[in-house]
Assembly symmetry: C2
Homo-oligomer: 743 residues x 2
């Protein structure tokens, strides 16, 4: 009986099992089984992969990248530049650690060079044209780097050639107010003005001068502004420290607008229409030349005339005088002129971007772009090769994961090694012009890492407020260089912080309001959510305007490895932080962009605007209510969208819902664009981040229009304020519409 | 035993069944069962539903809609307009056949009206100011419609008020060449010019006149241009036929630019910045007034001076003379002046759009917009209420399906009943300005049905070439009105056709190159793929410029039901065709937009441009190669994308792939926008469809720039040609980039 029961139970069990098997495998469920892509489309960022990435980023690899990139000077379109193109291509096409694809894209762009056969000269000449003093033509060599014949003579790119000769005057920083003030004391007609770097843009120092009859300009870096006052190369300056040697000269592009000057808003291809050279605006109308402070000392300390106000003084141990005009009668140069012999010439040359991609698996039509320029003025170990070394390390680690089949991002990643940035962000600008439509349609974010390490104290990050959270998140996961148990985030918060109404005490992020690096076209022309990060100074230790070797022949591997980031651990921290952000932007199911962080900034801008302008605007019959309503709409739409994201189980809903939300987040910045917002600077179309001369922490166009109308008092100027208020309110309302429920 | 076996078998079966059930329902398959949304996201358009829709569209419903809409005149912002607003809202908010949601949106817009207390007057006065003739102030009544006190006096909206008096001259159509020619014979200073409609825009007739010293303009509709020569209201004109009675006057908006004139590119809200009235451009600088041909006959036949050329003559049985200036000596008006007393005034008034939506189920963030204006000049039975009646029938049929839970479109549908179109497409333009960002980001297509039926002979369709196929497809499924076994498509092909390189003999579709109706802002400002359809004339039977009651007090239900579409079957055919297109755009898995049909048009434009311009451009050193390369890139990208769509099994691939392809198709037209393409007409930014004065079947900006440079021969004008060629080539390349593989 037991056996029978046993057999019966066993048979029953067997039949049950067969039934279960038939039921499970033999019958298709009415709803069907899940297609294979279901799993892929809901995949989120993989924290293990991020940890692996962080651990694989190697400081020594970065160091060796830098060594290779800085072997020779690589100014745009030179042989040295071409060497770096080849190096990038080799690395990005490497079968084991390269990208899916890499290639070069060329543009024919308008550049300006000194003539190697006729070097620019600055001399002091007496009335019989005898030369009393000649300004140094090349920087003094301390290592072999400075002796490289490819080191370009210091010059002001886009300064016209010419041979002005006249009495010297000192014009402080060359700001409009400086020339105005100087002109009250000295008749500036026919003079040469010497100015110091800072306060005004490079080109502006000459543009501001010309209306007063100034015929030539010199510019130098005052030791007070760059060297914390130090001047001696026997023990104080490089190679003894990071400070600029007396003969060091900051080169630079002396233009105002970014992008190729002959083809505004058109990609500079062979048969593209080019404007006549005479129609170029924003470049010096008179010759200008940068010189070292060694020579500036000789010239300035010999100047006659009245002593300048305290704010005009630099670090020289002599009286700064306006100039008689010209030199004082106790000087050997008395009655002598300063003469500029500028032989710069312009040439349309072929500049290359090097592009590389990792194709996205799930949303290949969404791009995260990561870029930096490749061209330097000389060896450019810091500017830009610190950033390029970091980028190459990122692509090595990510490329290897891709080649090994261990990873493929959800979205596509595009790497850009831009050409000719030093001449005016040209490579990146031309790229955005050529691919305007598809980049606008598809780009989730742009990450710019130009100078990766200015100094080794703390992180510095700037960007759209919606990027704040992902930068914080990434920085929290990276160890601060040189500190055992502190994160990059905590260290940053220690150096620079603010109290946010929404988040309390947090690190202070900057905004991308200017056109200081290749993010400019992405931010201001395309309205793409962008960020720029670097490691930077301890401001309690230096007042240097920027790292002292900037744009000089001393910005070398030797300098960087000794004085900027020995061991390259700050480079490594930037690679980890930027790479972490990159992976999160590329892999997250929901884009890690927090729109309510944007609302916080708009509210702060609004408060400032109300405080500064409302009374006066009311008096003029201009209401700020539409702007207030727009900011309120934005906040409410942002809060709601945040809430939808938090409360949705997006991994289990249709992937089209995630895509919809991501599109709202991606296109948020695009909504702030208005090509009519800034009639006199079309390259700036983002109403929140455009450049501004008002220097107020508020909406740039409103601040500038107000600053223009208030003194002038003209009705037409107040109308411009009102107009801009309407443009601004409509753009913010438009951004709010992008965030509210789609229908 | 049998029982035991039976019990055993039954038990076994029961156990097996339990097992099957457990296996099927109790255990999740390793791959997971398909989430419920999988079925929804791959759903394609349902042909049964389309058949149902077609069968439910009812001609009598359309007729009754029209009867209701045309009870009283409904000029923009009048009480009659408000009645139609209420009617639309009632219908769209109907619980059984309404939309998901409907509401009104208001704009404060700048309009122009005659003064009811001081009607505009046109008189002939002799030298002692005695009135010899007074032009009729209102049209002659034939039915009660014309007697309605709300019938607005014929006037020229935006004509300035004023009281010019002078000798009369005849200026043909008021084109620049007409005044030039006339000025060779007559001193035009101080004269009043009478012109006929046609040949030039309304405002242009006055704008072109003023530089010659003309001080006032009259405009009338010549019987030759509108009535096939017929003139008599005893038996030839309405109410005896569709022809315009002698006192009929075409009203109209006499402006050049579309959208509210005081708030260009800004939505006209209460506190929006408004430009000073004196800064308005494109409106008549001198008074102008439209009159009937009855009065025009009296004036023109009395003119002195030389006889005009044959092409200037209209249908009057008298000699058309230039004017002495003034009347001939055999006329009772000899030596008399014509005097205009124009009392038009401008006012900022509240105009409403009525908006309604059906929310999309799968992609609510993709919009198909269907619109028409609501405002008329008088009763507007044809313009625009034929279109509104059709729209209301569409929303009734679709709304009912939605309310009954039988249908919900994949994408969202937005219906727009625009206000103040007659004054310059104002409601639709303000809407696109207010919602610029989200409409640009999300709109798949815009369908405009303004005048649904001009006449009952054949379909007429205009639109972007990528829409051609879906229009054809829809037209093939609709029976041509009045023809038993012919489709709308076949009937259309019989009336108007072309031989396409890709498709052979097909109906000829038009392009949306002008700003004739509310599609303008969608096409030219937002770059949204659009179409406009109607039923229209048999051109072998009439040469009328347009249906003869256009903008007169005779455009009534009586007129339409007797002479335009008795039985409303052409209205029904338009409702079926447009609705079919609408459903396909809203429901298709892959958007029914064929990009290679766009390539065909670009190639045809290129061929024309090469034939017309290449030799001369070469001689000027301007290469057309970049344009040729761009068109080739476009064709190749379009062919490839078509091929990807055809060869993919999209219903079984990730929905993000379909979305990606749909985004490429949706954004194609956006890529043709360039805000810098037409510096003097910013509202036109689509480089392929912008308005053009050259009248050549090629790229509008190129043709206009060429036509400007060729006679002038100035270098700067040839540079503009070159510049536009670069803009155009870059835009077409950009469109190609939108279509090629995304990465």
């Amino acid at each position: 009986m037991i056996i029978k029961v046993l057999i019966g139970v066993l048979c029953g069990a067997a039949v049950l099992t067969v039934g279960i098997l038939i039921g499970h495998y033999g019958i298709t469920k009415s709803s069907g089984s899940a297609p294979s892509w279901v799993k892929d489309v809901v995949k989120d960022v993989d924290e293990t992969l991020i940890e692996r990435f962080l651990s694989e980023v190697d400081n020594i690899q970065i160091q060796e990248n830098l060594r290779e990139l800085t072997k020779v000077p690589h100014m745009a379109t030179t042989a040295g530049d071409e060497q770096t193109v080849q190096f990038m291509l080799k690395r990005w096409q490497d079968p084991d650690s390269g990208l899916d694809q890499a290639w070069r894209e060329e543009y024919l762009v308008y550049l300006s060079f000194p003539d190697p056969k006729n070097p620019n000269k600055v001399t002091v000449v007496n009335s019989s044209d005898a030369v009393l003093h000649t300004v140094r033509e090349k920087e003094k060599p301390y290592t072999d780097d400075q002796k490289d014949p490819a080191v370009v003579q210091p010059y002001a790119a886009y300064s016209p050639a010419g041979h002005p000769k006249g009495k010297l005057v000192y014009a402080n920083q060359g700001k409009p107010t400086d020339y105005e003030e100087l002109n009250r004391t000295v008749d500036l007609r026919g003079t040469i003005a010497i100015t110091r770097y800072g306060g005004a843009g490079r080109a502006a120092k000459a543009i501001n001068a010309a209306p007063y009859g100034v015929i030539g300009v010199l510019v130098y870096t005052d030791p007070l502004d760059i060297n914390d006052g130090l001047m001696s190369d026997t023990n104080e300056t490089y190679p003894h420290s990071w400070y600029m040697p007396p003969s060091g000269v900051e080169r630079g592009s002396f233009n105002t607008d970014y992008g190729d000057l002959l083809t505004p808003y058109l990609a500079a291809k062979e048969e593209t229409y080019r404007i006549p050279v005479k129609n170029i605006t924003g470049i010096p109308p008179i010759p200008i030349q940068p010189i070292g402070f060694e020579d500036a000392y000789t010239l300035i300390c010999a100047l006659g005339g009245k002593e300048v106000p305290a704010t005009w003084r630099g670090g020289f141990n002599c009286s700064y005088n306006y100039g008689g005009p010209g030199f004082k009668n106790t000087s050997a140069f008395y009655n002598s002129d300063v003469k500029l012999d500028i032989y710069n010439y312009e040439e349309v040359k072929n500049s290359s971007n090097v592009m590389g991609i990792i194709r996205g698996s799930v949303e290949p039509d969404r791009y995260v772009i990561y870029g930096n320029h490749r061209d330097s003025w000389v060896h450019g170990a810091i500017d830009p090769s610190s950033g390029t070394s970091v980028m190459l390390e990122l692509t090595r680690v990510l490329g290897r994961m891709v080649k090994q089949g261990k990873w493929r991002p959800r979205r596509s990643i595009i790497f850009g090694s831009w050409g000719a940035e030093e001449f005016g962000l040209i490579g990146s600008a031309e790229y955005t012009e050529q691919y305007y439509s598809k980049l606008s349609e598809r780009t989730v974010a742009y990450i710019n890492v130009d100078i990766a390490v200015f100094a080794n104290a703390t992180l510095r990050a700037s960007g759209m407020p919606s990027m704040q959270n992902v930068i914080f998140q990434a920085a929290k996961q990276v160890k601060a260089p040189g500190l055992d148990s502190t994160s990059v985030y905590d260290n940053w918060k220690r150096y620079s912080n603010r109290t946010s109404p929404d988040h309390g005490l947090i690190p202070k992020m900057g905004y991308l309001t200017g056109a200081g690096s290749d993010y400019a076209a992405f931010v201001h022309y395309l309205g793409i959510t962008s960020m720029d990060i670097s490691y930077t100074y301890d401001r309690t230790k230096t007042n240097a305007r920027i790292y002292p070797a900037y744009h000089t022949a001393y910005d070398t591997f030797d300098y960087s490895s000794k004085f900027i980031d020995p061991g390259f651990v700050s480079h490594q921290a930037i690679a980890r932080t930027a790479g972490n952000v990159l992976i999160r932007l590329a892999d997250s199911l929901v884009l890690p962009l927090i729109c309510s962080d944007y609302a916080e900034v708009l509210e702060s801008y609004l408060n400032t605007a109300v405080t500064l302008y409302e009374d006066q605007l009311k008096a003029k019959g201009i209401s700020m209510e539409p702007l207030k309503r727009a900011v309120t709409s934005f906040r409410s739409a942002a809060t709601h969208l945040d809430q939808v994201i938090r409360s949705s189980d997006l991994a289990n809903e249709t992937p089209l819902k995630v895509r919809r939300i991501n599109d709202q987040l991606m296109l948020l910045d695009r909504a702030f664009l208005d090509p009519l917002a800034f009639p006199d600077k079309y390259a700036f179309r983002h109403v929140i981040w455009a450049s501004s001369s008002a220097g107020k922490p508020t909406f740039p166009g409103l601040a500038d229009a107000y600053d223009n109308a208030n003194p002038s008092g003209q009705l037409s100027d107040w109308e411009k304020v009102h107009y801009h208020l309407s443009v601004l309110s409509q753009a913010i309302e438009g951004a709010a519409h992008t965030l509210v429920d789609v229908i």
